[in-house]
Symmetry: C2
């Protein structure tokens, strides 16, 4: 392992900025105090800005999956019909959750690497007008594809169903103006574009969703949003929070506020575009057939190259950590994140090490060319700079 | 607020040692790596030593309550009969959890400040031989009382029920040799005697408990121990862990290992004894009628003193944080922790500030006397130094 280099380019955890690390190294204090409640109040407001919603954003101490579970058990009753629109590992988690909680689960899918077709969702909803909720994914971290949430939401908002979006990796990286697009529930986590270690998860809920919450009979306790809503009135959580992460979240939210959410999203878009241009320049094929995410780029491992070995050499010998493929994608793709606190410099080094390692393994890739295309593309304002 | 002083004497979070704070300020790395798995493997073994069990100890990313929920939904099926033995706020949480998940909940209780009588549990189990599980508390943090888990376990182990113990605040402070005492399930959390920020919870399960897990039909996903067991085989967790807390846990477990669990428990017992002696010396009344916990001492607020004001002045003006009473105990008691990384020096300062503040509020308390009795008692080996 290269002791002098620690470039983390995985789609969660992502690098934590020094401002947040500093907070994490401070002596701890108690959370049932005005001091903590003030911070938690500010953090909750800051989260609303990133979620672009007027709804409350509740903070859970859990992995992102804990908030996904909250998004199932709080709005449904056993036997309810739900529609899961999925094309990757994390979309499939909605299927598993729905089945675990006794739902009647309808499904719309697309092959890995492709986006969900909103028209397919419409068809299923037309045939099943009693569908209670549609569950889908903002950025499917396992394939690097974003779905057209705006079109999906446009359609679902006209149906009887609420729309629940897993934006664990996408929030703060790809645009997702919750209220403007009429998304009912957005779920996210701390260790992606919010630039923190894992341990916190978030869930926002629209009025429509909260109305369903009132009649939901799913059994729940730890993630019962009624308890979170009640505690929220006192700027509090029902159970002891991972409070040092909340304190650090105030710092990372400040970084986004100072920059402005729009600039933050645009910078992420530029880094993503530049990364993709560099990868194409060295003749690598992107895994996303369309709608590549700005959070993470998935890349096909070239023929004849051992994908797991590639990741291992870069990580253990050169200090650059990218992510491999998950499940059936193992060894077939690798993934480079470009969100949160990941910088132009991190990506430049990452691309250089990638080229160096690919070449050593027998796939010639010019580091100069990759960096040249990266820089040239980064300089140009991208077509996507229309984010609000 | 006294900027130079930050003495934290609350029963969770407790002070975090510098060795752990240092780890928390390091750049983060990825958890699906051999590097992390090695740490997690060592931490899991270290937890077994503190739990004093050969059973696996599973690590959840949640508050302690998340692991309490896991201890309900993993071993039961809706409609099962359970017995909750409670005499405080956290015991009542088992009642709430049992009811939330549709159990037939029997109850044995005692007034706040008293311990559960094991004979009462026996009586209920005799009349209800199909009781599936007994839920109780090791140290009831809200009252500062420990229950006689050894006697309770002795009896429950002869019944058809498993015994589940909430040791969130007691583990590592009061003795609880899980296997020797035949406790089936022990639940704990990171922010008490394990000296970490909140965010991790732990649950160990005996063979008897795991047998119940196989037939349990409670709906679950995020805290489904089958998923944790499977991941455990690869030194892994099913969902992204709060990995920086796991890394820091390795450091705090090392502190206990170096000292030895027995010495660690004995030191906690000495601090607890000394604290109680000091409080008695200044004519304060302990809330625990018997079985005071070594984790935390609850003290009655003297007549005529505003308990909430007392806590507030000490915290905001003098930099010493103790905990107030919870729920119906609010304003009536306050609580001083003496577990984990809390030192003799912390407690000496805490007692001095307590005397100073009580005196200012009109209850004369001699700081010299308190510290004298504290020191004299600390010097003597306590009667309780029999912990293994």
């Amino acid at each position: 392992m290269n002791q002098n280099r620690n470039v983390l380019l995985t789609p969660g955890p992502t690098p934590v900025p020094p401002e947040a690390l500093k907070i994490l190294s401070q002596p701890i204090f108690h959370h049932r105090t005005p001091q903590y409640r003030k911070v938690f109040g500010r953090v909750s407001l800051g989260l609303q800005e990133v979620f672009q919603t007027k709804s409350n954003v509740f903070t859970l101490t859990s992995s992102g999956t804990g908030a996904m579970e909250a998004a199932v058990v709080n709005f449904l009753s056993p036997g309810d019909t739900i529609l899961v629109a999925h094309a990757g590992k994390f979309g499939e988690r909605w299927l598993e959750l729905g089945k675990s909680y006794g739902m009647n689960v309808l499904s719309v899918s697309a092959p890995y690497g492709e986006a969900i077709d909103p028209a397919e969702i419409r068809k299923v909803l037309q045939v099943n007008p009693f569908t209670k909720a549609v569950y889908t994914t903002h950025c499917e971290t396992s394939t690097g594809v974003t779905y057209d949430i705006q079109s999906i939401a446009e359609m679902v908002s006209k149906s009887n169903a609420i729309l629940v979006v897993d934006a664990i990796s996408g929030l703060g990286a790809d645009p997702l103006p919750q209220d403007e697009w009429k998304v009912d529930v957005v779920v996210s986590g701390s260790q992606k574009a919010l630039m923190l270690p894992p341990g916190l998860a978030f869930i926002s809920a629209s009025e429509r969703a909260l109305a369903l919450n009132k009649t939901s009979t799913c059994q729940k306790y730890y993630c019962d949003l009624k308890l979170y809503q009640k505690a929220f009135l006192d700027s509090d959580t029902p159970f002891t929070p991972a409070l040092t992460l909340v304190l650090a979240l105030e710092e990372t939210l400040k970084l986004i506020q100072v920059k402005g959410l729009r600039s933050h999203l645009n910078e992420t878009a530029r880094l993503a575009d530049a990364t993709r241009a560099a990868l194409r320049a060295i003749k690598l094929e992107l895994f996303a057939k369309s709608h590549p995410s700005n959070a993470v780029t998935a890349v096909k491992v070239p023929n004849g190259i051992d994908g797991e070995k590639l990741i291992k050499i870069m990580r253990d010998e050169k200090g650059v950590t990218m992510a491999g493929g998950q499940g059936s994608m193992k060894g077939k793709i690798f993934r480079i994140a470009h969100m949160g606190y990941i910088t132009k410099e991190d990506l430049t080094i990452g691309l250089q090490i990638l080229c160096e390692t690919l070449s050593a393994l027998g796939f010639q890739a010019s580091s100069e060319e990759a960096v040249h295309y990266f820089n040239e593309t980064y300089k140009r304002p991208t077509a996507k700079e229309v984010y609000r």
